[in-house]
Symmetry: C2
Subunit: 382 residues, 2 copies
């Protein structure tokens, strides 16, 4: 943050927070065994059901998204269970690491980073592995790809496999109607499109998933979803609830859902389209398969001779704009522009204008100045 705290966060979380959220966060913390917290938890649970599009209760965990992923694996499995993990990027790989840690037998469907999973390949992998469950990423931030989640779920359901989805960076930004598409476990995280700080994970389970949880034997204590479900009947938490974060989430969701979930998804869809058009007009290439490009985060190949990390550093130092670099296998090879949460068109267009300046300074001059902004403007202004 610069000294005015006027930085622009175009990273895939934490995302910019509305002042009303900051005000809620600066209220005195009330206790977690109070009617006030129960009221907030009840309200938040109702709003999260709208976001997840499910009739199931959504469990709120005091953890980051990874905690929600661990809760899903640990609660629904027993050691030795077979699981198919679909890896299209760094976060897909995380499913396998967690599952291995719990002694599951992990089959991996490794997809070239930048591409989405092919449902036909998932079909085959489920058949050949005999896995009883499948874990995959809805929106893979590390590669800027959104999986064909509906089609993968159709395949999973055909095989009767329990489906577990990391939707942390995709919820509210792209479609994932949990009940309609027949997903079993969906995991979300607070610091993404929810526009509050890191510290909360959300886990929703279908009736079938709850049955799996009831018979699973993997050890779990802090992330014990059955204990949490029981506590939720009395609108409280099994252990200490993150009271200020829950209150802030309630404030944020009231703002974010004012135009309905569809409004939020449509806003992200246009932003994604605008950034991709802007990138293209700057003579840059998408890293991701355009057919599955994410509307939350755009992964971009740097132009020849430009070090994406040096460029990002320049952007941060000169303009207080933060974009993300490549992770794991993609370190130093791409940069990522997130457009997730509460971001106004003037911020996105201003961010692209400054990206143009920095690209030019780093030697990439093969585009008309202003062209990237103009292309994105045409979509945001249309």
């Amino acid at each position: 943050m610069n000294r005015y705290e006027s930085d622009l966060l175009l990273i895939p979380g934490p995302t910019p927070m509305p002042p009303a959220v900051m005000r809620a966060l600066s209220e005195p913390a009330h206790g977690h065994r109070t009617p006030q917290f129960s009221k907030n938890l009840e309200s938040v649970t109702g709003r999260l059901k709208e976001v997840f599009r499910t009739e199931s209760d959504v469990i709120v965990l005091a953890s980051s998204g990874t905690g929600g992923m661990e809760a899903a694996i640990a609660n629904a499995h027993s050691p030795g269970d077979k699981i198919l993990v679909v890896e299209i990027g760094a976060f897909g790989r995380r499913w396998a690491e967690i599952a291995e840690g719990y002694g599951l037998e992990v089959a991996r469907l490794e997809v070239e980073w930048g591409k989405a999973a092919d449902p036909a390949a998932v079909d085959e992998a489920l058949a050949s592995s005999g896995a009883g469950s499948i874990a995959f990423t809805h929106n893979e931030t590390s590669t800027g790809v959104t999986n064909p989640t509906q089609a993968i779920l159709e395949v999973a359901n055909k095989h009767g496999a329990l489906s577990i989805i990391d939707a942390i960076s995709g919820l509210m930004a792209s479609e994932l109607p949990m009940d309609e598409w027949g997903a079993d476990i969906v995991v979300g995280g607070s610091q993404k499109a929810f526009a509050i700080p890191p510290g909360l994970a959300f886990v929703a389970l279908s009736d079938r998933a709850w049955k799996a949880v009831e018979s699973a034997t993997s050890p779990t204590y802090y992330f014990d979803l059955m204990a949490m479900r029981k506590s939720l009947e009395k609108w409280t938490t099994a252990y200490t609830g993150a009271t200020t974060l829950v209150r802030a989430l309630d404030v944020a969701l009231e703002l974010l859902l004012a135009d309905g979930l569809e409004g939020s998804i449509e806003t992200h869809r246009r932003r994604g389209e605008a950034v991709r058009a802007g990138i293209d007009a700057m003579g840059l290439k998408l890293f991701s398969d355009p057919a599955h490009a994410s509307d939350s985060v755009t992964a971009v190949l740097p132009p020849d001779g430009v070090d994406p990390d040096a460029m990002r550093k320049d952007l941060a130092q000169r303009f207080s704009i933060h974009m993300a670099g490549g992770q794991k296998d993609l370190k130093g090879k791409i940069f990522r522009i997130a457009h997730l949460g509460v971001i106004e068109p003037y911020q996105l267009l201003g961010g692209l204008a400054c990206l143009e300046i920095v690209l030019r300074a780093q030697g990439h001059t093969a585009f008309e100045p202003g062209a990237g902004v103009a292309a994105a403007s045409q979509i945001l202004g249309g």
Copy 2:
């Protein structure tokens, strides 16, 4: 404000406030007869002296800028005193209204709006009127013009006239070294480049001005500068001091002066240049004389057939960006883009990008999309 409070204020005050200022404003209000307030007042007075570039104490009033203007007129004059008012816009005219209210004999030098005062004409007017004092505007927000303040002060001092300057929108954004240029009374306001809310005015007086105050007989109570000077010896205020605003001002000035006053002025100079280049590249014409265009606010003539107020409404409704309209004689004839206070390049460039969209939607298409942003980028990125 939109529901996310993520609006961009490109109006000439109130200007965007850094979160640290908002945090200070939300602290409990301490009493105005406390060591805490005295400490804040002492600190703020020191920082304001740096801004005004004066050895004199700067008086902080709990009022808007107009209160500071009234304080200057009332304290330094007696009924029947002759004053020359230089009117280059709506705020110049205000000096005359206040002076007339106090029974002064007002001579007016009326300058065509959009132009700066000509020091030779001021010389002539001072000679012909025999005025003992002269009041004028340093930076006229209503027309986007900065007066040649140094040259006017030379003329005033040649005539021995007491000089009174409305520097409300110019301080910290353009040069006005009070002692070096020999100004007598300089008035500032909090909601401009100071990046705090409306509610404080600042008045600094030269030794000569204090002598005039001591002998003046106009009635004044709330704005009694001698009472305030006496209170300031004990680092307190004559009446209730605006404790939270003073504390917020201290926080703001610490941030704003971190690169020195010159840093702030240079930032505004580049912003002014960038916006003028952007406007030109959009095929728009400056309303103001380019030789005296303000670096705080740019007044622009709308293109043929475009209603500037409809355009501004569109900009606010679609993009949460606020620009100013014309005032008084200029109502409906111009629009004004302020670039005052804490505004990042990405915000200014994003604001111009959205202005391009809205201009195009209103039928002004005689420019290449992105051209305005590109022209401004060249200056901000240079």
